[in-house]
């Protein structure tokens, strides 16, 4: 129910003042999502794989992670799409560990790292905050997830 708490908190005038927010005094309440924007969204390409190819070729660090209990954008959707990039594998599928427990699995491709987080839903840091921070630290360091 966390969205309910944030909706209450960010509609407090004293919170908006502290955040220097709502300076124009918008006449609608603050909401976690805008239905108007979502319902009227215009241009949206069917694939961003071409962008991945361009940025992988540029040598940027690209990590993709997936909470494996999410059914909205499930792990299998991500795996089919990453597979469609046709990248060679440099480290094949292995379990990564957090304090002797399997935190998820990972596969390292040439130019991209794929990491799953076991038991996490769509919002990975919400459901597995500790593992999400471990993932983030490894991303920043450019180090593969720990295999022991």
């Amino acid at each position: 129910c966390t969205e309910r708490y944030s909706t209450e908190y960010y509609n407090r005038p004293e919170v908006q003042r502290a955040l220097h927010a709502n300076v124009t005094g918008i006449n609608y309440t603050w909401a976690t999502c805008s239905d108007i924007l979502n319902d009227n969204w215009r241009d949206s390409p069917r694939s961003v794989l071409p962008i991945y190819h361009e940025l992988i070729a540029a040598g940027l660090r690209i990590w993709v992670f997936s909470g494996d209990t999410d059914a909205v954008v499930p792990l299998t959707a991500t795996r089919y799409s990453i597979d469609a990039l046709g990248l060679p594998t440099t480290v094949s599928w292995y379990p990564w560990y957090d304090a002797m427990k399997v935190g998820g699995w990972s596969q390292v491709y040439k130019g991209l790292s794929l990491v799953t987080v076991r038991g996490a839903g769509h919002e990975v840091p919400l459901h597995r905050p500790r593992q999400a921070l471990i993932l983030f630290k490894h991303f920043l360091q450019g180090k593969p997830m720990p295999d022991a």
Binding site: C1, C33, I36, N38, L55, I62, A120, G121
Partner: protein, 272 residues
């Protein structure tokens, strides 16, 4: 840091205290950057810096999307942000696993109309799309770095989730990354020192994502064989954002079969 903020003219954007917050060892700034003066589009940001001991830490831009969902609502308030909000809707507690322990996290609400970001041109709310959102976010970045020159040349990453956000579409992060990369091309020492991006539970390619999504629904036992076949027959060659009536009908059938569960986290109780 108060002196530093004053010196850099940012005193007006420094968040000195949030109602109900616990004591913290890091600084915060928040406010607006105008990305289109004529239309009056301004995007809201909230910067949660890393503690002094961790500086100079990288800068990470976090984008939730939706499209139309707020990075303040999700990223900052229930995922990787420094605080969690209590059920009283009035007090905060520290997130032990906050990402600003190791990086300076910049939450951006984009496009205009999301969260506290606003536009003075109402029609903007009815014709937003990937392209303008990416360009507005890029303009935001360029102007934000002028506000915060101490972050110029600092290692910079972009991260996000889903449509960078919460529902079935996802493109912001790679599109903005592409803009940053292309505008850096040929520049010996780009001031936006872009190093890479990380995305979570991200819709990436409608065709492959549909195939993988329906397979997951079927092998996790939340749809029937018939609906599985119907979804594959009527959706996989369709658009994720603007599905045709036949695909919508199949998706509606699947919704009935799924029942009252949290599709964002299959084994988590729903919020009643």
């Amino acid at each position: 840091s108060a002196a530093a903020a004053a010196a850099s003219g940012l005193a007006g954007e420094r968040v000195t205290y949030l109602p109900g917050q616990p004591p913290v060892d890091f600084d915060m700034y928040s406010g607006y950057v105008t990305v289109d003066k004529r239309a009056g589009r301004s995007l809201f940001y909230w910067l949660q810096e890393a503690p002094a001991a961790a500086q100079p830490a990288p800068l990470v831009l976090w984008l939730n999307g939706g499209p139309g969902c707020s990075s303040v609502a999700y990223g900052a308030s229930e995922e990787l942000g420094a605080f969690r909000i209590r059920p009283d809707g009035a007090t905060l507690f520290l997130n032990d696993y906050r990402w600003n322990k190791v990086a300076n996290i910049l939450f951006l609400d984009s496009p205009a109309g999301v969260g506290f970001s606003y536009t003075n041109t109402t029609s903007d709310l009815y014709d937003s799309g990937d392209k303008r959102t990416a360009h507005d976010s890029y303009k935001f970045l360029v102007k934000w770095f002028e506000k915060f020159p101490q972050y110029k040349y600092r290692d910079f990453y972009i991260a996000g989730e889903s449509y960078a956000g919460i529902t079935l579409l996802w493109h912001y992060v790679p599109q903005l990354s592409q803009l940053v990369y292309r505008n850096n091309k040929g520049v010996k020492e780009p001031l936006i020192n872009f190093k890479g991006f990380m995305v979570g539970n991200a819709v990436t390619d409608d065709y492959h994502d549909y195939i993988g999504t329906f397979e997951y629904w079927w092998n996790h036992g939340i749809i029937s064989d018939g609906t599985y076949r119907l979804l594959n027959a009527s959706c996989v060659h369709d658009s994720g954002e603007h599905p045709a009536p036949a695909c919508l009908a199949a998706l509606n059938a699947s919704t009935v079969e799924q029942g009252d569960i949290d599709m964002y986290s299959l084994y988590t109780p729903t919020c009643n």
